[in-house]
């Protein structure tokens, strides 16, 4: 019984971290129609910036959690203004190629700046150690990840459903020309949404830093996971990102615990099953078509 409790909490912890990352990918696709291959690289940048702020500049973790994502968002504004603006009106394949190039540039830059070695970040004192919960010991930091994930979930829901900014973002997603006709500065919306997606990726990176070793390949690992989340949940869907992330979290948490022989296959089996029955993902647009 304690095993199931532990696996459940672990699944939530993995799942909500994945949600933070994948939801940014999904918002960017939903509004801008861009599959951002560089999303994982932005996540990695968030983690490395946090490492620099904490281990080199000596700042507390909390300062890094606030500052690093803002830094990445600023970089995203530059990427949007310098590179992406040329391809928004083009085919999705072009954005895939361009963002893949950005991914390679960021990966190589990270290797040049921080080296190829393994770096670690310590959790803040407040969150180190573990607590007893559901009959097993759980890292306090994992609970923190779960709490932040839930807070972001609530915040995003509020943003999209209850605020003017959220409505503008949705309007721009639905029909950009009409939005423009209604005097919405869609140029600003586009940049803002891309920066917001990058901010979310970087928040994920900072959150991941105290539990996962930093290396120059960490972005590539997470982007594959994020794509699986998006395929399961549905591309461009906000609740889809949540469903996909929780399902993948459960696959990792329970699969590793109870079906370790096939843990390698499970995410792909899950993805294949969803594709068979819901080709657009569980919450994907046109899922019923």
């Amino acid at each position: 019984m304690s095993g199931i409790g532990a696996a459940l909490l672990n699944s939530l912890d993995i799942g909500l971290l994945l949600f933070i990352i994948a939801v940014g990918l999904n918002i960017v696709f939903g509004v801008l129609n861009i599959i951002n291959f560089a999303h994982g690289a932005l996540y990695m940048l968030g983690a490395y910036l946090a490492f620099t702020l904490i281990n080199i500049a000596g700042m507390p973790f909390w300062a890094a959690l606030l500052l690093a994502p803002v830094g990445v968002a600023i970089l995203a504004v530059v990427i949007d203004r310098v590179l992406l603006r040329f391809i928004y009106s083009r085919d999705v394949a072009d954005s895939l190629l361009l963002t893949f190039a950005i991914l390679l540039i960021i990966n190589e830059s990270v290797r040049m700046i921080w080296g190829s070695g393994i770096h670690v970040v310590q959790p803040p004192d407040l969150l180190s150690g573990s607590v007893r919960l559901l009959g097993s010991s759980v890292a306090t930091y994992s609970l923190f990840v779960i709490v932040i994930g839930l807070l972001l979930l609530a915040g995003l829901w509020y943003l999209f459903n209850r605020t003017r900014v959220g409505r503008i973002m949705r309007a721009a997603a639905l029909d950009r020309d009409m939005a423009e006709a209604l005097c919405i500065n869609t140029r600003l919306v586009v940049t803002g949404v891309f920066a917001f997606g990058a901010w979310l990726a970087a928040v994920g990176g900072v959150m991941a830093a105290p539990m996962r070793a930093l290396d120059p390949g960490m972005g590539d690992k997470i982007i594959i996971e994020s794509f699986i989340v998006v395929v399961i949940g549905g591309l461009g869907s906000f609740p889809g990102a949540l469903f996909g992330a929780i399902i993948l979290g459960l696959i990792h948490g329970f699969g590793g615990r109870y079906l370790p022989e096939v843990n390698l296959l499970l995410p792909f089996v899950g993805m294949a099953l969803v594709l068979l029955f819901k080709p657009n993902g569980i919450m994907g647009k046109g899922a019923n078509a």
């Binding site: 095993g3 190829s116 393994i118 070793a213 290396d215 690992k221 948490g253 590793g256």
Partner: protein, 407 residues
């Protein structure tokens, strides 16, 4: 006016630089050695360590007159940890870069894929890191050598360590590819021979390479009745594993924990004090294990140059360049088949003592190092190894018949 003079200066400088190159190229062409390592992605640190070791060796050799009077020059290609990429890169190195010999390979999977193509290339390859027994076993060939410890040697040593403990119920956590599975297989077979009453649990754990979250597997082992666990997770994954295991209290359980590549210096420096004390750690070369002039020189030069103690991967790559020096000087040529032949049965003084490439399978008879993690090193910021055991390379190696190698 000023602008022009700067421009002239630049032209002059360029001309001088070109003259310099021209005059160098009048000398005999350098000997070129191709290096095939992982230079990008998560495991790029391994390629970088190899390059650092090679740079030291090449500088030393070139500084003292080169090989056969010729300078040595390295050409690197990124294997990306994929066999198909590595094969293509090896062909490129041989056919278009014209290298005389190859060193490299970090991954067992890559080695299994690439080694069979070596006879076609007709150039010798010294493997400096990848540990699968197959490449000096059933896949062996006249051109393939390995200077580093292989899984069979290290697991024989591991079994000797494990047999000394009271643990009878053993399981494993290892990456889900050749390295993880072969480590467990060899360990289990050797341990069973040494101590027939051990129980090798059927519940084994093979998370995927790069899994990031190892908690489910950690919990599974903690809830089982395992008394001993062999962990072959390595690199960044191992750092993740140990940090996650720490928060679960994994090391407080009454269990023998053995890390097959735990004493890799990159892992130790990343973890610092987070590496628990009192666990069994192994490495293919521990920089403080050998008291000989070659090692003293190597360790000192490495620390002077890079500020950290050398990892096993740097040592293997460093020694491989010296192996080529000796083999080429013995053969009196850089011709691939002749150099490959000279390597067979050859001995050289390396940082880890006298290294001999056994004739029957081309595996170097080198010693796995096992120890127990101790207090922090006062200068290097990493855990020390206590109760260090240096296993005799010859004694932990399989017999030629066992390797399945037919040369």
């Amino acid at each position: 006016m000023k602008k022009t003079s700067i421009k002239n200066l630049l032209v002059a400088m360029t001309a001088t630089a070109t003259l310099g190159t021209v005059s160098v190229s009048y000398a005999e062409d350098p000997i070129r050695i191709g290096g095939l390592y992982i230079l990008s992605g998560s495991a790029a640190t391994y390629g970088e360590f190899a390059q650092k070791g090679i740079d030291l060796a090449v500088d030393e050799i070139n500084g003292s007159g080169g090989i056969l009077g010729r300078q040595v020059e390295m050409v690197y290609e990124d294997s990306q940890g994929k066999a198909s990429v590595a094969i293509q890169a090896a062909r490129k190195l041989v056919y278009s870069e014209g290298v005389d010999a190859l060193v490299g390979l970090d991954s067992s999977g890559v080695a299994q894929g690439m080694v069979p193509t070596m006879p076609e290339l007709q150039k010798p390859l010294i493997i400096t890191h990848a540990a699968t027994p197959d490449v000096t076993g059933n896949l062996c060939n006249a051109f393939t050598y390995r200077i580093s410890v292989n899984v069979a040697q290290n697991m024989k040593a591991a079994a000797l360590v494990a047999a000394e403990t009271d643990a009878t119920n053993w399981t494993t956590i290892g990456p889900d590819y050749a390295f993880g599975h072969q480590s467990w297989e060899f360990f289990g077979n050797y341990l069973k021979e040494l101590k027939p009453d051990v129980n090798l649990m059927s519940e084994t754990n093979f998370p995927r390479f790069g899994a990031e979250d190892f908690t489910p597997f950690i919990d599974r082992v903690m809830d089982s009745d395992a008394e001993g666990v062999l962990i072959s997770v390595w690199g960044g994954d191992l750092v993740n594993f140990i940090r996650q295991a720490n928060t679960r209290g994994f090391f407080e359980k009454d269990m023998e924990v053995m890390f097959t590549v735990g004493a890799a210096t990159e892992v130790l420096s990343a973890l610092g004090e987070e590496m628990p004390e009192g666990v069994h750690l192994s490495t293919r070369y521990w920089y403080e294990a050998y008291d000989n002039p070659v090692n003293d020189r190597f360790v000192k030069a490495y620390i002077d140059a890079y500020g950290t103690p050398p990892s096993y991967n740097a040592e293997g790559a460093y020694a491989a360049i010296y192996a080529y020096k000796k083999a080429m000087e013995t053969a009196g040529t850089t011709e691939g088949p002749a150099v490959a032949k000279a390597l067979s049965g050859m001995s050289l003084e390396a940082p880890n003592g006298t290294v001999t490439f056994r004739e029957g399978d081309h595996q170097a008879m080198v010693s796995p190092n096992w120890g127990v993690s101790g207090p922090m090193h006062p200068e290097h910021g990493i855990r020390t190894l206590t109760n260090l055991q240096i296993f005799d390379g010859e004694k932990v190696a399989r017999t030629i018949e066992e390797t399945g190698c037919k040369l």
